[in-house]
């Protein structure tokens, strides 16, 4: 009896699978422009990844409904078929909503935060015929995936990966809208040496592409300014007992501590240091920039400094977006929602101006002009990084993260 059901069972699986594939294809057709959204949406980083993509989704919805506040109206010259040149206002197209007169369709995929999965996701997006990709979040995913996008000739803008290697690979279609670890590391390193006037620091990192990369940049900057790094160690991501590390830092005589990693470990680490009586300044990067970090270390924790981008809560242009986000998703934005929103707007504006989805032309447009975003003007350099990084040092004041006033 068991065997009786086996073949039909197998056949059913095959048929259902094939049918699903077929559905996918037929559903995906039509006269739309496809944008891929890819980030980690499951597992423990799910929140930060999905809020980032939700930011991008809001931008796309605005374009589709023709209500984007940031849309810049350009008068561009278009060559007609008979050779005569006429000036076209893009908003004639834009009046229809979408971009290039077509609606924008997003394909959102989950890379699970795993590099091998990310390559797979990238391949799937390429096969689905996207013209641009906004993502991924983790540097470890963005870097291997970027090769797939670039060999397929697809624009990729990452809203959140800060590892320098991503744009150092020399790919023409790889862009990043956030800062780089070396910019961030330089800011943090300079802060430690110049503003806190210290000469000996200890560094720990979480051994990921992000954490170790950032920690290495801080080390480089700090040492180039004449300081010494007395401890430079990695901690496994699932390690929760830091007492031996803290004792080592205590014994090394470090005057400040830098953590290259996420808030999940950074918070308890900071608490552990304070409990062990190590009251040196605790400095970290954007990975700790989260409310739950403050919750862990306490609302009035002294000597805690984080490097992060500009304070968008103080930018008036950001307010409509933040309100809209809250209205649509029912919760506050994540750390990268604004970046996701900006990245989508930059990509769509560039496509609109290039009047084509051809990656070469879009990339040329992106590198040729400045874009108005809610984080200010963004210009890309030849590598695809933003020209101004905008990293500033933040500290905890009255239970909130606030940018230090004396920052440039």
């Amino acid at each position: 009896m068991r065997k009786l059901f086996l073949w039909p069972g197998l056949a059913l699986i095959v048929v259902v699978g094939v049918a699903l594939t077929a559905c996918q294809k037929s559903g995906g057709g039509g006269d739309t422009i496809k944008i891929g959204l890819a980030a980690v949406e499951s597992g423990s980083d799910a929140q930060i990844g999905s809020t980032m993509l939700q930011g991008s989704q809001i931008a796309v919805d605005e374009w589709n409904n023709n209500e984007t506040p940031l849309k810049t109206y350009h008068i561009v010259t278009e060559t007609k078929q008979d050779g005569s040149q006429v000036q076209v206002k893009l908003d004639e197209w834009n009046a229809k909503g979408g971009v290039l007169g077509k609606q924008i369709e997003t394909i959102s995929l989950d890379d699970e935060g795993k590099p091998d999965k990310a390559v797979n996701v990238a391949q799937t997006l390429v096969d689905d015929g996207v013209v641009g990709v906004l993502g991924h979040l983790n540097s470890g995913c963005t870097i291997p995936a970027s090769r797939v996008y670039n060999q397929a000739g697809i624009i990729q803008i990452t809203p959140g990966s800060t590892n320098p290697q991503y744009t150092e690979q020399g790919y023409p279609y790889a862009f990043r809208i956030c800062g780089r670890d070396d910019q961030q590391g330089a800011v943090a390193g300079a802060f430690l040496h110049d503003q806190l006037k210290l000469n000996k620091i200890a560094i720990l990192h979480n051994k990921t592409a992000y954490g170790e990369g950032l920690a290495t940049e801080v080390k480089k900057t700090f040492e180039s300014k004449g300081g010494t790094v007395v401890v430079f160690d990695g901690i496994g991501q699932d390690e929760n007992d830091y007492s031996a590390n803290v004792s080592k830092i205590k014994g090394s005589g470090a005057e400040a501590f830098f953590w290259g990693g996420m808030y999940g470990q950074g918070g308890p680490l900071c608490v552990k240091m304070r409990q062990a009586g190590v009251n040196i300044p605790f400095v970290s990067g954007d990975g700790c920039f989260d409310q739950s970090f403050i919750n862990t270390v306490g609302a009035s924790a002294p000597d805690v400094y984080l490097s992060f981008g500009r304070d968008y809560h103080k930018i008036p242009a950001a307010q409509p977006f933040l309100d809209k986000y809250k209205a649509k998703y029912g919760h506050d934005e994540g750390a990268y929602s604004v970046y996701g929103y900006d990245a989508a707007n930059v990509l769509l504006t560039a496509i609109a101006q290039a009047q084509t989805t051809d990656a070469d032309k879009v990339a040329a447009v992106m590198k040729s002009r400045a874009f108005d975003t809610i984080l200010g003007q963004v210009e890309f350099d030849a590598k695809g990084d933003t020209k101004t990084s905008g990293f500033v040092i933040w500290t905890i004041k009255d239970g909130k993260l606030q940018a230090l006033p004396d920052n440039p």
């Binding site: 423990s44 496994g236 929760n240």
Partner: protein, 310 residues
């Protein structure tokens, strides 16, 4: 590094290593006890430990809602409730996943245990929190901020409690197994379940008792570790469980003092690796120690208890 305080650093590191070892030992005792009686690796023990952590925080939450934040009452009741909860989970595990497989091929209960372990991890992941939850420090502050000064090192009360508890439980288990009637029944079950049942040992109950005791101890360990690291997370049991298991093998699995010895060696290895090479080499050095011991003394440092396996 030429540092004036290097000797005190070394002392502190050794203390850290011992505390870390004690944490592993608390979990390893549970592994070794189940192994001693049943001859199976209870892979889900680490998850029971994790459940104990969460149950304690839930209990504290409930009590503080009920009658306010009384540190001692809430903490003690929380630990007790966590023990009851963990014991219930341990018993449920045994009843659902292992009892039917008691006579099966070795592979079956082990696979079942891995299944339970994965299930429980993701159960907590999906129902409680995907992220790290912090232990309410209001309840652990007394233990973590007060300390005893011995020469140049300071031992917090919490570390003293963990160390004391480790040796207390070790001694208690040793006494239970070797000098009580219940211990005789345990050893009889370990040697031959059929024969034991023939002479009137209630084998099912004895095995259930083993799981309940081991799980309750895991809950105590869980609360201690939660206070010590300040962090509760769904996969906390996996890592500690893996290390604890390695420790149990190091000391000779099934051997109660061996588990503690192995755990101490492991904790010290990790702490000294941190001092000398940096903590990124911890896992590698642990594995090297394990392979070395298996090569030189295949049955563990203190020897596996074969005749009286408990």
């Amino acid at each position: 590094m030429t540092d004036p305080s290097s000797s005190s650093t070394l002392a502190e590191i050794i203390l850290d290593g011992i505390s870390r070892g004690a944490v592993y030992a608390l979990v390893a005792l549970g592994y070794t006890m189940v192994y001693g009686v049943l001859g199976m690796i209870n892979f889900a023990h680490g998850e029971i430990f994790m459940i104990g952590m969460f149950a304690c925080v839930y209990a504290i939450g409930l009590f503080s809602m009920a009658w306010g934040d009384h540190v001692l009452i809430n903490l003690v009741l929380g630990v007790l409730l966590a023990m009851v909860f963990s014991a219930a989970y341990g018993y449920a595990n045994e009843r659902i996943a292992y009892r039917r497989l008691r006579k099966a091929h070795v592979l079956a209960p082990l696979t079942s245990a891995i299944g339970i372990s994965t299930f429980l991890q993701y159960f907590i992941f999906l129902t409680v929190s995907k992220e790290k939850v912090q232990f309410p420090r209001y309840y652990s502050d007394f233990l973590t901020t007060h300390h005893l000064t011995l020469g140049s090192v300071e031992i917090t009360y919490l570390r003293l409690a963990i160390l004391g508890l480790t040796f207390l439980i070790m001694g208690g288990l040793f006494y239970l197994i070797h000098y009580t009637r219940l211990g005789i029944a345990l050893r009889a079950t370990a040697q031959d379940q059929l024969m034991a049942s023939l002479v009137g040992v209630p084998v099912d109950k004895i095995i259930a008792f083993t799981f309940i005791l081991g799980s309750a101890l895991a809950a105590v360990a869980g609360v201690m570790v939660a206070m010590y690291t300040n962090v509760l997370v769904f996969d906390a049991g996996y890592r500690v469980g893996l290390k604890a298991f390695t420790a149990a093998i190091l000391g000779g699995i099934g051997n109660v003092p061996g588990a503690v010895l192995g755990a101490m060696i492991l904790g010290l290895t990790e702490a000294l690796t941190t001092l000398q090479f940096g903590s990124e080499w911890n896992d590698v050095s642990t594995f090297a120690v394990l392979m070395l011991v298996l090569l030189l003394r295949p049955r563990g440092l203190l020897g596996e208890r074969v005749a009286d396996k408990v």
